[in-house]
């Protein structure tokens, strides 16, 4: 659907551009002024610590976008080998050993997992990506496994096994290549999901420094000044909402073009 495509592009363009180019445009930090004042030499006013809101907006998108991307990539770096090994092995005990723990891990509420893991990892972008990865791996590995099972049953894989092709060739050279479209669709949904989880964790103060330049942290920390200086909250919140909405609309438009339903 063309309209949805266009709408998605429009929604995602501004926050993405700000996230990527912002840190280069931000310039050096200016002197701090009074907290929560609109105007007074600051285009968007000042935040809870008296910093320029516009500068924080320019700086704060990168971590949201990059952490979500890194977490998605990391999730697959763990889930693909795990799911593929489980699907390709002919020893059912090994398959059970690899997958059954995931069935159990899925039962732990993801927020509980986030909160508990957060206290083990050090706060910062790397810790936050690891956190989101931990939560996403069980489900991703199950998706990889069930997508691979269908391909592993094909005669081509049987023929490769009879030819004594190496595990790497069967797994990566054939099975992984055959399922990459399914995975691409799943990765899109997961990216939107990790965008959600990354920003929600940052909002709750989990896995981030309390004064980090991050849109979600800005929303949280500037909330006490919502009456005086709404821009310091509203602008980062709108940017995050627009980024998430745009990503999901665009993903749906791309998937529809390729004749796939949005998986959930």
């Amino acid at each position: 659907m063309r309209a949805r495509h266009l709408l998605g592009l429009t929604l995602i363009a501004v926050p993405l551009l700000l996230a990527l180019a912002g840190p280069f445009l931000a310039g050096p930090p200016g002197p701090r002024s009074v907290s929560f004042t609109p105007g007074q030499g600051h285009w968007l006013g000042t935040d809870f610590a008296g910093r320029d809101v516009w500068r924080q907006v320019l700086l704060g998108g990168r971590s949201v976008a990059l952490v979500a991307l890194a977490a998605t990539a990391l999730t697959y770096a763990v889930a693909v080998p795990l799911g593929l090994s489980a699907a390709l092995t002919r020893r059912s005990w090994l398959e059970d050993l690899l997958l059954r723990p995931l069935d159990v891990a899925i039962a732990v509420p993801s927020l509980v997992l986030v909160l508990i893991t957060a206290s083990v990892l050090s706060p910062g972008p790397a810790g936050l990506s690891l956190l989101v990865t931990t939560v996403a791996v069980p489900d991703a590995a199950r998706v990889v496994h069930s997508a691979a099972l269908e391909i592993v049953a094909r005669p081509a894989v049987e023929a490769m096994r009879m030819h004594r092709e190496s595990w790497a060739r069967i797994a990566l050279g054939y099975t992984f290549r055959a399922m990459r479209r399914t995975l691409a669709a799943d990765a899109g949904t997961r990216l939107v999901g990790s965008l959600y989880l990354v920003s929600t964790a940052a909002f709750l103060g989990v896995g981030v420094q309390p004064d980090a330049a991050d849109w979600a942290v800005m929303v949280d920390r500037n909330r006490p000044g919502l009456d005086l200086q709404p821009l310091a909250v509203v602008i980062p919140a709108v940017l995050i909402a627009s980024l998430s909405m745009g990503a999901n609309l665009l993903l749906d438009a791309v998937l529809q073009r390729h004749g796939k339903e949005l998986p959930r």
Binding site: V108, V120, A247
Partner: protein, 310 residues
């Protein structure tokens, strides 16, 4: 073994494993709780005393066994910070969180069913396109972003609704409107989209064509024949939604200053109050497991032919 038997077995395994997993995770926290409790100027004798009181001098498996044993008897232990039983923490927050969750769930089902059925009436029509685009977009928005935007518009600009729930529910029931609206947004979008897709499939199926040939009314076909088939996957999604709902409840409680279970959990994690974290996590985990089990069994009952889960 029958499908139901296997599913029950998996549920039991999860029930047993969740508390153990939570215990092991909290065990991995750096430093032990005695260090955290002893304060800034640790007195070695005090640390040793706390260790003995908390059985930290015993090996981990003994403590796990002891904790699990107490858990089975309904005893969740005592808070490290206040020394009060963990169950009192649960009891305090439970009512408020339950009120939020129950209101959301009660509104969720009729709202998403009617949105889904409405947009499936004419696939690709203007109404369907509008509903689909909106649900698709709103689905992705994190609760905290939606929440602060709604507060800014409806509480601060227009002044129609209170910005936080500080006033209390009894005095002012309107404090619940915004929190429940924020909690509803994502689940309604996801479930209504699922029901729409299932309804479109069901309405194109041979049995619906046959029902039309019998001359049944369109409304009866839609609500009595197509909808039950569309509800089976929705029941499972509903159970998964409860996992988000938990996440959403924590955000909403923070945003609207409602001291429920989510707030208790956040505070306990911040204070390293491990027994409270463990107790809450175990309770949340058990709740999730039971709900998923019920949903899978219900889905099986609603659409017996389809292979569901496990």
């Amino acid at each position: 073994m029958s499908w139901v038997g296997r599913r029950l077995l998996l549920g039991l395994a999860q029930l047993a494993a969740v508390p153990v997993l939570v215990f092991l995770l909290t065990e991995a926290l750096p430093g032990d709780a005695a260090d955290a409790l002893a304060g800034d100027e640790p007195d070695p004798r005090r640390i040793a005393a706390i260790r003995v009181a908390m059985h930290l001098d015993q090996p981990a498996w003994r403590r796990l066994a002891g904790w699990a044993g107490h858990l089975l008897q309904g005893d969740l232990g005592t808070s490290l910070v206040s020394g009060r039983p963990v169950s009192t923490y649960l009891a305090e927050g439970f009512g408020r969180t339950l009120l939020l969750a129950a209101l959301t769930l009660v509104l969720l089902v009729p709202l998403s069913v009617s949105l889904g059925v409405l947009s499936a009436r004419r696939e690709g029509g203007p109404l369907d396109r509008a509903i689909s685009s909106i649900t698709l977009a709103v689905y992705a928005v994190p609760e905290f972003a939606l929440g602060v935007l709604l507060v800014t518009v409806f509480a601060l600009r227009l002044g129609w609704l209170p910005p936080t729930a500080v006033g209390g529910v009894q005095q002012q029931p309107t404090v619940l409107i915004l929190p429940v609206l924020v909690l509803l947004a994502r689940p309604v979008c996801s479930i209504s989209r699922l029901i729409r897709a299932q309804m479109i499939d069901a309405l194109a199926s041979p049995y619906v064509a046959q029902a039309r040939r019998y001359g049944l009314s369109e409304a009866r076909i839609r609500w009595a024949h197509a909808l039950p088939n569309a509800l089976a996957p929705a029941a499972q999604q509903l159970a998964r939604t409860c996992d988000w709902l938990l996440c959403g409840v924590v955000v909403v409680e923070t945003l609207f200053v409602i001291p429920g279970l989510g707030t208790v959990l956040l505070d306990a994690v911040a204070a390293r109050d491990i027994p409270v974290v463990q107790g809450l996590a175990a309770v949340f985990g058990l709740f999730t497991v039971v709900l998923n089990l019920a949903a899978d069994l219900a889905a099986r009952r609603l659409a017996p032919r389809s292979e569901v889960a496990a």
